[in-house]
């Protein structure tokens, strides 16, 4: 049974038609799958079936430990997006990017495929100048309309600078983690466990925080 209705499938096909190059979706689960892991696997497989440029590789968090380490995956379900050359930009989705988050998933997918809007020169210069390891975690809830913007910004930063890694984390699926970071409002953005932003902020605000790290 399909996860997507026919109408959404059609729209997804159109959107994925904008992909420039191949993208490999790496999906981490475990041998005995949790309900959401199973759903997330269906999600990536159904999306991948809509465009020839997409492929899926499924790994097991425990059995494929070295792969999990390679991509820095520490919990499931996890989705990692690799470009046509198999390059890992440090872009991850923890949880099923459903609800509004489908938009950030597609946006990031297109960007990894090479279909991306040019950034203003001054912003790009600031991103490229970041010379320390930055880990951004964006906590979302799937019913939050602003959250995809925050996720897209974080992933774009990761795409432009190898020192920056960015995760989407579904707060309602990773509850203990959300509690650890006191997430009671989304999007909540955690930078290297040191600074946080609440709300969908633009690139320049993300950079203001990163430059303080």
């Amino acid at each position: 049974m399909a996860l997507f209705e026919a109408k959404i499938q059609e729209q997804l096909k159109n959107i994925l038609g904008n992909m420039k190059n191949e993208v490999k979706i790496v999906y981490f689960t475990q041998e005995i799958e949790c309900t959401l892991c199973h759903d997330t696997r269906s999600f990536v497989q159904e999306i991948a079936s809509l465009n020839d440029k997409l492929s899926v590789k499924v790994y097991d968090l425990v059995l494929d430990k070295e792969k999990a380490q390679l991509y820095g995956v520490d919990k499931i379900p996890a989705i990692v997006l690799l470009d046509k050359d198999g390059k890992d930009y440090g872009i991850k989705f923890y949880g099923l990017p459903g609800g509004y988050e489908i938009n950030s998933f597609l946006g990031t997918l297109l960007e990894v495929s090479g279909h991306k809007e040019a950034l203003p020169g001054d912003i790009l210069k600031r991103i490229k100048a970041v010379d320390k390891d930055v880990h951004i975690q964006v906590f979302v809830s799937l019913g939050c309309p602003h959250c995809p913007d925050a996720v897209s910004v974080a992933h774009r930063l990761a795409l432009e600078n190898p020192r920056i890694k960015a995760d989407m984390v579904d707060s309602n699926n990773f509850v203990p983690m959300a509690q650890k970071y006191n997430v009671t409002g989304v999007p909540k953005i955690i930078f290297n466990d040191r600074y946080e932003l609440v709300g969908a902020h633009p690139l320049n605000t993300f950079l203001d925080v990163i430059e303080k790290l």
Binding site: E5, G99, N103, G107, A178, N182, G185
Partner: protein
């Protein structure tokens, strides 16, 4: 939408045997619907936006990206005047609205989708566009200078102020410090994070009761604090909320303080008549006590009413020649999407006429 059949899988059983906190399973135990709120238009439309040039004097500078500002942009571009638009939050309040059912042409549309459609219509034009910036000041010279929060100066022969309104703060101790740590303004975003928790809702109007409805379905307890002796929300909403048994009401009271170090632990409310103070233990507070106009940056420049709304005439003219205003930031009664859109078009046509007569 795909209706999911609940199934107990081995993973879940194992977790149950290990006796982990029950809240982890709430999402699994009940049947759930995985919905996809796809904004297809935002992926398919061409973006022709230009960046704003500081050296250029634009015919029209629009401040705001809600229905008023975006409508004004479409009218200006179609008239062929050079236009710059400065947007802090695209869509404004519409983007925070779950359902819109009174904007003609759509029997039902969700707020984000409507904003996408507005934006799509603007995207066809090569308009000078800046998003994520707010305006800090505006001069009333012949050539208006609009100063942005990053120091950038945008010049215009005319300006249309369509900066809208923002949720009013309580302005009580603890509020700013605990934003995102239990203090919330967007119920559709943050209510799901209060499963099994105690939440306060400040405000008994439509937005307050809508927030309380979202929360009552999942929180262990909801306390509505209202400064008047009854709720002012629409009857249909009040009736819906009265069906919940986990909702309490505190009338004729206001919030004095929000307590908590790392996160909200409770609030102090005061009865307005008796001055009696009560502490309520809570994990969070949703603030829905109305809206304030975003007009601080033009205080002393244009005339305003006592609510700090910009006074306009029927041509959307303000007290300063060449400065127009439209939408929720103005004194025009009834704040509605369709009214803001109409006012935005009026302001654009007035600005274009003003430029034509002047040149």
């Amino acid at each position: 939408m795909y209706i999911y059949n609940f199934k107990v899988d081995i993973c879940l059983l194992l977790e149950l045997i290990l006796n982990l906190p029950l809240r982890i399973f709430e999402g699994f135990i009940k049947e759930y619907n995985m919905e996809f709120n796809l904004s297809a238009v935002s992926f398919l439309s061409e973006k022709n936006f230009l960046s704003i040039e500081e050296a250029k004097v634009y015919d029209v500078v629009i401040i705001g990206g809600g229905p008023a500002g975006l409508t004004a942009a479409v009218y200006c571009m179609r008239k062929g005047v050079s236009t710059a638009i400065i947007i802090k939050d695209i869509g404004g309040q519409v983007a925070d609205t779950a359902a819109v059912e009174n904007y003609l042409g759509y029997k039902y549309i969700n707020g984000v989708e409507l904003v996408e459609k507005f934006k799509e219509q603007v995207q066809q034009f090569s308009i000078a566009y800046e998003e994520g910036r707010s305006v800090v000041s505006l001069s009333d010279d012949d050539i208006k200078k609009v100063v942005l929060d990053n120091g950038k100066v945008v010049q215009g022969k005319t300006v249309i102020i369509a900066s809208g309104k923002t949720w009013r703060k309580l302005n009580v101790p603890g509020e700013d410090r605990l934003v995102g740590r239990g203090v919330a303004y967007c119920a559709i975003c943050d209510a799901p994070l209060f499963a099994g928790k105690i939440a306060i809702v400040a405000g008994g109007g439509n937005s307050g009761i809508e927030a309380a409805l979202d929360l009552a379905a999942i929180a262990s307890k909801v306390v509505v604090v209202q400064n008047l002796e009854n709720l002012t929300a629409d009857k249909i909403l009040i009736e819906k909320l009265s069906k919940f048994t986990n909702v309490e009401y505190v009338f004729k009271s206001h919030v004095l303080e929000i307590e908590g170090d790392e996160k909200v632990t409770g609030v102090v409310v005061e009865n307005i008549q008796t001055k009696e103070k009560t502490s309520i233990v809570a994990d969070g507070i949703f603030i829905s006590i109305g809206l304030d106009p975003n007009s601080d940056f033009v205080k002393g420049v244009v005339d305003m009413n006592r609510f700090n709304e910009i006074n306009t005439d029927s041509f959307c003219r303000t007290s300063v020649e060449g400065i127009f205003a439209a939408g929720d930031v103005t004194s025009v009664p009834f704040k509605q999407i369709i009214i803001a859109g109409g006012e935005g078009s009026k302001a654009a046509l007035s600005a274009c006429e003003y430029i034509m007569k002047k040149d």
